[in-house]
Symmetry: C2
Subunit: 440 residues, 2 copies
């Protein structure tokens, strides 16, 4: 043995089996819901040509990217799932049917400075609907339906999907004659929840905004909550800008449709302070927060964009999508105690043959239980009785099936509930159905 460092790299998440099971359970719920809404799962390489990934990127992204040469190839690890989607759609355009709905759940890489809750390798869970030339705004309303469905199933407390429309902000900037400074102003607005009102004022003043404009801006971005009322207020502002009017109408349409589609009005709200990705989103934008843990920030974000793949194709591909940063979300749910720590093994049942002669019947019983869809382990090492039950206990299985000489002779097998300690004696034929009824 040498002194090789076996710890996982800083900024990379590695879980013990029990936590991994919980992580996988959450990932599966997200995937199931995506699929249930008709988003077909895609898979693309983790490695891309650097020219593809860097076509649009710059600044932070370029610094954070994992880039390397292999032979003559300039390669990089993807840092999101959107650019690979753009490349995929451009490359396979003729083989796809539009509107094209896909989901993609996999790892992406960003070499950020490691800090609490920030990861260099992390799962993103994305869905997008891509149209050819145009895409109905109805899809802007379907996306939050999927979010609503997922977070209702995840059972991690009350959540709110917050909506805005970038056209409203752009129109307001026009109206305030701030179009040239728009991206700086929006960047500051995006930080609104993280900095004090005073700091906000200062930063906006520095950009040269008059007090009058700052007041109007803050009045405006403070509009939030109930969709109908918020949209009333927006109309009341009486801003005569085409983009503004279009944005308000779209927001109106989307929130009305969401209600129609069955999203509980308590679970969404208009929030005009959401700007998000300054040069990417062009219409509806979403964020999702856990009401009891607003400091976590948005756990699911996205929006509408005019053109997915302008760097790779001349086809116009408008779309709308969202992403859940699962690794970060899992980390945070764990921090606030929302991750179950009970599970340790995938198996619910451990079959325990005492001696080699008992293995045959042990395997038959194990297979019968598996036929009922129950994951079942069988202990094939020789151990003392005490060690066997220690093993079962440490594994965390719910039931043990004991197979010794007596059991084989009598045809009755002891099933022990490892949580309550209760024992029951059953014939071969009854074991599997008993376990099925007693495992959730």
């Amino acid at each position: 043995m040498s002194d090789i460092n076996t710890h996982v790299l800083p900024g990379f998440m590695e879980l013990l089996p029990g936590q991994q099971l919980e992580f996988n359970r959450i990932k599966q719920i997200i995937l199931d819901e995506y699929q249930r809404f008709g988003f077909t799962p895609l898979d693309t390489p983790l490695v891309e040509r650097s020219e593809v990934l860097l076509a649009k990127a710059g600044g932070e992204t370029e610094k954070q990217i994992y880039r390397f040469m292999k032979g003559d190839n300039d390669l990089s690890l993807r840092f999101d799932l959107t650019i690979p989607l753009a490349r995929y759609v451009a490359d396979h355009f003729n083989d796809l049917t539009f509107p094209f709905k896909r989901c993609h759940i996999d790892k992406v890489y960003r070499g950020e400075s490691p800090q609490k809750g920030r990861f260099r390798e992390f799962y993103q869970c994305d869905i997008d609907v891509i149209g050819h030339n145009e895409l109905s705004i109805n899809y802007d309303a379907e996306i939050p339906c999927v979010i609503y469905s997922i977070f209702s199933k995840l059972n991690i407390g009350k959540f709110t999907v917050r909506l805005n429309n970038r056209k409203i902000l752009a129109g307001l900037m026009n109206h305030l004659c701030l179009s040239e400074k728009a991206s700086d102003v929006l960047r500051i607005i995006d930080k609104m929840e993280k900095i004090s009102r005073e700091e906000l004022n200062q930063e906006l003043s520095k950009l040269g905004l008059t007090e009058d404009k700052i007041t109007k801006l803050l009045q405006f971005t403070s509009i939030s909550g109930n969709a109908e009322k918020a949209i009333e207020s927006l109309k009341d502002f009486d801003i005569d800008d085409t983009q503004y009017i279009e944005g308000v109408n779209e927001l109106d349409q989307v929130t009305k449709l969401m209600k129609t589609m069955g999203v509980d009005a308590n679970h969404f709200a208009v929030d005009l302070s959401i700007a998000r990705g300054l040069d990417y989103y062009t219409g509806t934008v979403y964020e999702t927060i856990l009401d009891e843990h607003p400091n976590i920030g948005s756990i699911c974000s996205g929006g509408r964009y005019d053109n997915l793949a302008s760097f790779y194709t001349n086809e116009k591909l408008p779309g709308v999508g969202i992403s859940i940063g699962l690794t970060r979300l899992f980390y945070q749910l764990n921090e606030i105690g929302l991750i179950d720590k009970q599970a340790k093994t995938i198996a619910s049942v451990l079959v325990m043959p005492f001696g080699n002669e008992q293995i045959e019947i042990g395997f038959k019983i194990a297979n019968a239980i598996r036929e009922f869809g129950i994951n079942t382990d069988i202990l094939l090492d020789e151990m003392t009785v005490k060690k066997r039950f220690q093993y079962a206990d440490r594994l965390g299985v719910k039931f043990v099936v004991v197979i010794g000489d007596d059991e084989i002779k009598s045809g009755n097998f002891i099933i022990q509930n490892m949580i309550t300690g209760d024992k029951i004696s059953l014939t071969f034929d009854d074991i599997a159905s008993f376990l099925k009824n007693n495992i959730k």
Copy 2:
């Protein structure tokens, strides 16, 4: 648009939605079976410290590895799932329960020269059982039970799990006074099926083997087929070498136990020409072939090893495991026409509201169908009737639910079977259960 190359990198697999669905279906069957046998799924980073990956490697591996610097860190992409497992077990030793059973299905990277059916990014599907200090040989028999179960479910034709034991080969080398040349001889034997008898003779002669020894060796490695008979033949050789005897006894035990555990004797065979990984495996070794497509080679291989993590820890960790190279397998199944090309979307049903007023009831119907576990898409773009059905057809959904004015007025909705063209008129309450009964 620039002239960026959007094609997937050579040696990387990227699938269209329909093929991706088939790929995922196979992957899910493998994962389900692994879990059903109590192998807990693990996930480790794709990026490791180069010192970890290269502790043992050398030669080809080192040349093929994707290695790069990020800041001061010398990093590499993993080229298998075994080394990460070794590091994981060494690092988390105190938190694991032994025997430790884990499965891991994910991508690995090898920068091989791209050629037909060889991939630089590919999925491995691994299971391993790791003991602490010792691990019963019973687990050597459980592993082929899992293989048997998976390939029975995959329904890709008759297959055979071939077994050997490295101790038998090592003992034979001893007996023939070839121990010093053993690894060269075994390397040639491993190629046996790929080269002619004449070439085999030549290569062995070059190593300095007498004709007598070559004959004995070939006689020996030609033993194959029915386990009982093969083991009889092995005993008949009457070789008085401790390792040889141990190996034959182990092979005897493992094959007997496999029968006990319910593996159909038509699906496994002893094959003494299997050597596999010369310095890694120490006992039982496995390969799996499709009987009707032997030229594909082994589709699932593995074996027993004495010590998993000697480079990372002083704990002795014997284990046994196998790996399915899924990307290569999928490619080959596709080549021989065993991959279904029907599926194109994850959704079985497309709900089709004609107009915005129909969306509310459309969404209610879609959600009711989803409640039955059926993946359901809803068309939210405005299109002509013709285009709508073209879309449904290209998507490849099985059923379309039509929602127009007439349907809402009458309360009866048309369900169209997209394969047969049959139509049926049903009330809201009957749609979901009808679809459930008519989708496999």
